[in-house]
């Protein structure tokens, strides 16, 4: 799983021949991707990632960096592998038996697929918000307190109350629900539910938050609130967001990666990608010619 990938004959990958454990990851050249995959201040770095579902290859030799305290948007047509890639960043794909992952994934320079690394602890550091709001069928309070409880973050009820309140505040939900913390979380509106899920994720104090189309099931107003929230959250967290909406990518992200058929076609600063894309496929996609 954590083996360093040996380049396949077909690939023109000159820099990967050396021993990667001693190489500066940012020096690796990639022939496939145009633009700039490197970040000056990378929180997570992925090199030569391949992901297979059984015999089917979902991700083909992708390398990129997630810049610290910035938002990286992953865009691309349906089935291009962006969600699969996102889920590999906190090892959510481990729960799928037939999924096989190779390549190097690091968080602060630490291999997240290392044998001695506990995926449970990794997921506490790399949280995830899903496409469909999925609050537990418990009270609003219990939803947010869940992570703090399982990780033993608090010593008493007062500290737990504190965590719940600040998390809800950071998610911009506290004022709406402060009088009904004991009501079921499933009774909230879709947008509120999604913010509850974000609050639940922040309550564990992660370093990275992965968002898989967090606003695709929401109406425009709820979407705007979530987008504002993402903008605020990047002050404290590193964020990767998969989205189908190019406007959303343009509004909330600083970096954009364009995926196509399991390959990373182009990556760069969001303003560059949307104003002067270098690759024909990217241009076609963002101008709405397909996808």
């Amino acid at each position: 799983m954590n083996a360093i990938k040996i380049p396949k004959p077909g690939h023109v990958n000159e820099a990967t021949q050396t021993d990667l454990s001693q190489t500066d990851l940012s020096k690796i050249e990639l022939s496939q991707t145009v633009g700039n995959i490197y970040a000056d201040n990378a929180k997570m770095s992925i090199r030569n990632a391949d992901i297979y579902y059984g015999d089917k290859q979902a991700i083909d030799n992708i390398s990129l960096d997630l810049a610290k305290n910035q938002v990286t948007a992953l865009i691309g047509p349906s089935g291009c592998g962006k969600s699969t890639f996102l889920r590999s960043l906190n090892r959510m794909n481990d729960t799928i038996d037939i999924c096989k992952i190779t390549g190097q994934f690091t968080l602060d320079g630490e291999d997240i697929y290392a044998k001695n690394l506990d995926p449970v602890l990794l997921r506490a550091r790399v949280g995830m918000v899903f496409q469909k709001p999925n609050p537990f069928p418990k009270s609003i309070y219990e939803n947010v307190a869940y992570g703090a409880r399982i990780h033993g973050l608090t010593n008493n009820k007062a500290e737990l109350d504190e965590i719940v309140e600040t998390s809800l505040q950071k998610a911009g939900l506290f004022n709406e629900v402060k009088d009904r913390l004991n009501d079921p979380g499933t009774g909230l509106s879709g947008g509120q539910q999604q913010r509850l899920c974000i609050a639940r994720t922040i309550a564990v104090s992660p370093e990275v938050i992965l968002m898989d189309e967090p606003a695709s099931a929401l109406d425009p107003i709820a979407t705007a609130i979530i987008e504002e929230l993402i903008d605020e959250l990047k002050e404290k967290y590193t964020i990767a967001i998969v989205t189908h909406s190019m406007q959303q990518a343009a509004r909330v992200s600083q970096h954009t990666a364009y995926f196509h058929m399991g390959k990373l076609v182009e990556m760069g600063k969001t303003e560059d990608i949307f104003t002067r894309p270098s690759h024909k496929l990217t241009e076609n996609y963002i101008t709405g010619r397909f996808g």
Binding site: T95, F136, Y146
Partner: protein, 472 residues
């Protein structure tokens, strides 16, 4: 013609009338080329004709068969000599039985021969009556054949005469089919109602001699009553409390085993086991549910009970050779598949999104199971447990063989207890007269048991329904 041959003739006639109706409708339309002018398909005409031919005749046959022997017997009795007609009811039945056995074992020629040779008056009158019976039976058979065939033919003839281009054969055949379906479901419902009513009436008989209060709250159970006045027998105490207490004790022990084990199996199979193992283990578990309970019964009585007894004695406890513990444990084993299979369904039905949310926050597998999956699946699991409980309460063979007959009112699982079902079995097996409180008590017990399990089933269904609403 006897009934079964007649039935097959009728079947053939029905098949023929399908073809006949079809041809007639084509003729009405003016040949196969014009069949589009009919408002119904020719096949529907055929189907209608077939049903009109078969159904009334079949119903007649059924009614005739069920009423035949009563009428024949009446006629036969009226031909008997006066001194025999004036016999008491019981003796008359014996006499008629005698005649019937002669009539069915001897050929008419034999009987005539006996009649011509015999001089014994009593014997000859019986043979004479037997001869009459055979004649009557033969007449009845002819009558039946004629009646059935005439009804079949006449109804087809009447129907076919009405055929026209606009005849609604489709609607009519649909209506008959619907009536058939309704009749089939009525059979199932009426059977249930019949069972309840028969149990209810016998129970009322029982409550005439034993007060319901004594039955429901009495703590003494000894159903032996004296059959004759001078007989020394049990006092005839009908307090059902010890039986229900025994049932509850064994059920409790069974659930104590089945619920935790079944739940853990469900969790393992749904969350931890690989697909390959699950494909193997699930059918294996279902085999456990397929073992006949009588096999469990002798397993309990011959294997488990002695082991428990020896183990108890080795640590200085006195264990009855038939203990509630042995029966309960084996019964628990039997219902493990019920709990595990239904609970696994409930756990698997929890949306994957909830599971992923939990994993995504860094919860371990067991934390996810305990804090997210089980609470979300709880209604389904409760439903599974309640169904298992009602199964355990109604279970008979295991307890008959392993729990004993002594109606002890005890909470000690090492003691021998008895259950409601065991008592019903012992009250009704062997030669019994059906008017003593002893046998009637079985029906009262059955009624109570029926009400209990019905209540539990209704409760379980309610819980399950509530569960369904949650994720739809």
């Amino acid at each position: 013609m006897n009934s079964s041959i007649l039935f097959f003739v009728l079947l053939g006639l029905t098949l023929f009338s399908y073809w006949f109706g079809l041809q007639r409708s084509l003729k009405v339309a003016g040949g196969a080329w014009h069949k589009k002018e009919l408002t119904s398909l020719p096949q529907q005409f055929g189907l209608l004709t077939a049903m009109v031919c078969g159904l009334p005749a079949l119903i007649t046959l059924l009614i005739f068969n069920s009423g035949e022997h009563i009428v024949v017997e009446q006629l036969l009795t009226s031909t008997l000599p006066v001194n025999i007609q004036s016999l008491s009811n019981v003796d008359l039945v014996l006499y008629l039985n005698n005649i019937r056995s002669i009539a069915s074992s001897e050929t008419p020629a034999n009987i005539l021969q006996v009649l011509s040779q015999s001089s014994d008056l009593k014997n000859s009158s019986e043979y004479k009556a037997a001869f009459t019976l055979q004649e009557l039976n033969q007449q009845a058979a002819w009558l039946k054949t004629a009646l059935v065939l005439i009804i079949a033919c006449v109804s087809v003839a009447v129907l076919v005469r009405k055929f026209s281009l606009t005849y609604p054969a489709r609607q009519k055949s649909e209506r008959i089919i619907r009536a058939l379906l309704v009749a089939s479901s009525a059979v199932a419902i009426l059977t249930t109602v019949g069972i309840v009513i028969s149990v209810l009436f016998e129970s009322i008989q029982f409550f005439k001699s034993v007060s319901p209060l004594e039955f429901m709250f009495g703590t003494q159970w000894s159903p032996q009553t004296a059959m004759r006045v001078d007989q020394v027998a049990g006092s005839g105490a009908f307090g059902a409390i010890p039986l229900f207490a025994g049932t509850m004790l064994i059920t409790f022990i069974a659930m104590l085993l089945a619920v935790p084990v079944g739940l853990m199996i469900a969790i393992y199979l749904s969350q931890y086991a690989s697909a390959k193992l699950r494909a193997f283990a699930k059918p294996m578990l279902e085999v456990l549910a397929g073992i006949p309970t009588v096999v469990y019964g002798f397993f309990a009585a011959l294997t488990v009970a002695p082991v428990i007894r020896n183990m108890g004695e080795s640590i200085g406890l006195s264990v009855a050779s038939e203990s509630a513990l042995a029966a309960g444990l084996v019964m628990g084993t039997m219902i493990i598949p019920f709990v595990s299979s239904l609970s696994e369904d409930a756990i698997s039905a929890v949306p994957n999104a909830l599971k992923e949310a939990s994993y995504g926050m860094g919860a371990t597998k067991s934390e996810t199971v305990l804090k997210v999956l089980l609470p979300a699946a709880l209604p389904g699991i409760v439903g599974a447990i309640l169904l298992a409980v009602s199964r355990a309460i109604g279970e008979t063979m295991i307890v008959v063989m392993a729990a004993g007959m002594a109606a002890n009112l005890t909470a000690n699982p090492l003691d021998s207890v008895t259950t409601v079902t065991v008592q019903i079995v012992t009250l009704l097996t062997g030669d019994q007269e059906f008017d003593s409180p002893k046998t009637l008590a079985a029906f009262a017990l059955g009624l109570m048991l029926f009400i209990t399990t019905l209540g539990l089933n209704v409760l379980a269904l309610k819980v399950v329904r509530k569960y369904r609403e949650q994720y739809d």
